[in-house]
Every structure is written in structure tokens, then in C-alpha cells.
Symmetry: C2
Subunit: 165 residues, 2 copies
């Protein structure tokens, strides 16, 4: 049975995650293959910094600054989710049920845990084309998830025009 697939698309501020979502809607969830699919948009907020109420000079943040930071976080979440919803709308793929989830913490851990908790059948995510050094230092969330998430993982990059291959 291929009905009732649960597909997580990890979305963030990047163009790449929107390519991933777009690929998922047009190349995976369109047609009649997964008619009762649920598309879960998962956004992971960065973890709150350990010095959440003290700035780098050791001074307490005022309530105003903290409130602004919190508001910024909320605005960012809303902006990413709205953009994702827009990509979904444009795709005219109305066959799937859409759920939105927001997690907080280390992205790779939150995403891999979400795969288990939400019983995902597929995880779709973008990947950034960092240079060698940055990648060597930072690693990559998609690398980690491709290795550790308990389901097939689709890694989508910025599309390369055919003629430039």
C-alpha cells in the first residue's frame, strides 16, 4: 500500500529548501501515486543562545531586546511557513493534506527525531553548496540526516541548467 504516505519537507530561510519543497510537490506528490499523503512542513528554529539574557559584554539584555529577539524569531518562522505555503499553492497540488510543525534546537537532531515521532515515510530537504572549507568545518544538516534519519532521504540542490552540465 502506498496510500497515506507521510512526507516531511524540512524548510528554512534558504532558496534550496524551497526547491526541495517544489520538487516534492511536482515530482513526488503530484499524480495519483500517494493520494492520501500528508505533507509536513517542518521548520526548525535555531536553539536559543546559552547567554539568552546576557549580551557578550556581560550585560543583561533589557526586556525590550529579548522581546524583539523573540518577535524576530516568530516573524522568521511565520515568513518561512508562509513562503512554503505559497510554493504549495503555486504548485496547484491540492491533493495532499498539509501540516505545519515548528521545532527548536539543533536542526539535524530535531529533524531526525521528527522522522521517528511523525512516522515519516520520506524526508525531503535542500542542501547548500558550501565551499570545501565551510563544509569541512560546519558539516551539513542534510549529510547528517541522509545518514541517520530512519527513512529514505531526498537531497535536493539548486537546479543546474541542462546546458551547463
Amino acid at each position: 500500500m502506498t496510500n497515506g504516505k507521510r512526507v516531511i519537507v524540512a524548510v528554512d530561510e534558504s532558496e534550496e529548501s524551497m526547491f526541495a519543497l517544489s520538487w516534492c510537490l511536482t515530482d513526488f506528490l503530484a499524480g495519483n501515486l500517494h493520494p492520501y499523503a500528508t505533507l509536513i512542513l517542518l521548520y526548525v528554529k535555531p536553539p536559543p543562545p546559552a547567554y539568552s539574557s546576557i549580551d557578550v559584554a556581560g550585560q543583561l539584555f533589557s526586556g525590550d531586546v529579548l522581546a524583539t529577539m523573540e518577535k524576530h524569531g516568530r516573524d522568521l518562522t511565520e515568513s518561512v511557513m508562509n513562503r512554503a505555503a505559497e510554493v504549495h499553492r503555486i504548485s496547484e497540488n491540492n491533493c495532499v493534506k498539509v501540516e505545519k510543525k515548528v521545532g527548536s534546537g539543533v536542526a539535524e537532531d530535531v529533524i531526525c527525531n521528527a522522522v521517528d515521532e511523525l512516522q515519516a515515510d520520506v524526508l525531503v530537504m535542500g542542501t547548500h553548496d558550501y565551499g570545501f572549507l565551510k563544509r569541512a568545518i560546519l558539516g551539513s544538516v542534510s549529510d547528517y540526516c541522509a545518514k541517520h534519519a530512519n527513512c529514505p532521504v531526498v537531497v535536493v540542490k539548486r537546479p543546474v541548467p541542462r546546458h551547463s552540465r
Copy 2:
């Protein structure tokens, strides 16, 4: 247009690559989403060793030994391709055209080049669940391809039973 997709599945001796093929047939190429799809089974033979006609003790291999090694390579290729064809047959997915390609060399390079040369739209491959040390030393073909292949890459692992997640 989603017609005419070209999907490469990298197959080798591993169970994981058969899971990848099976996923591709049932979760991606079934249904009517990619009706004119071409499934390309790509097997990469290991590169011929640099000491091809000299053994480790510095002695020349006899023609018989070389012929046996070559035959083993051919048998292995045939066995992998037959197994892949069997997975295809069992899936009863007869909507797709199947092509078989055999490359030789460093697997990740051959696979990434094949994506470009064959103008693949998706690459599907299995991944091995090596331990930390082996992975750190060997790296992983799927890691490399997920990063460098010029198309979306689906990384399929051995399925984890739901209850053990």
C-alpha cells in the same frame, strides 16, 4: 512536464541497493506520475587494480588467473544486473523502460558523471550503515553523490521496522 523522467538507480552487490531499487519502483515510478520514465540501472565495477598483471609477491599473474579475475568481474556484473531485473519484475511495474549501464572506476565519480551524461532527473541509491570509524575512514559513496551529483539524490537505507523506531 513530468514526462520522460530519467531515473538512475545505482546498484551493487548490497541489499541496500536493492532496497533503493525497490523504493524507486514502488514509491516513485509507480502510478501515473512519470508515465514515460526511463529507469537506468547503473552498476559500477571496481577499478582494475594497478598491479593488474603482477601479484603482491611481484610475480606475474598467469593468463589463467587474469582470465579468472575477468570472468569473476563479468559474473558479478551479470549477477547484480539479474538481481536488479528480478526486483523490477517482482514489483510488477512494467510502465517504465529499463536500461542497463555498466561503468568502471571510482564509484562516486562514475555515478556523478553518469548523472550528467545520461541527463538524469533523479539518482536513487542505497547507503551502508557502517560504524563511525569505517565511515570516517572510507567516507561514503552516497554522501559524495548527495553532495555532488547534479540532480536530486534519494538515499535509501535498510528499512527500520516501525515499532523499533
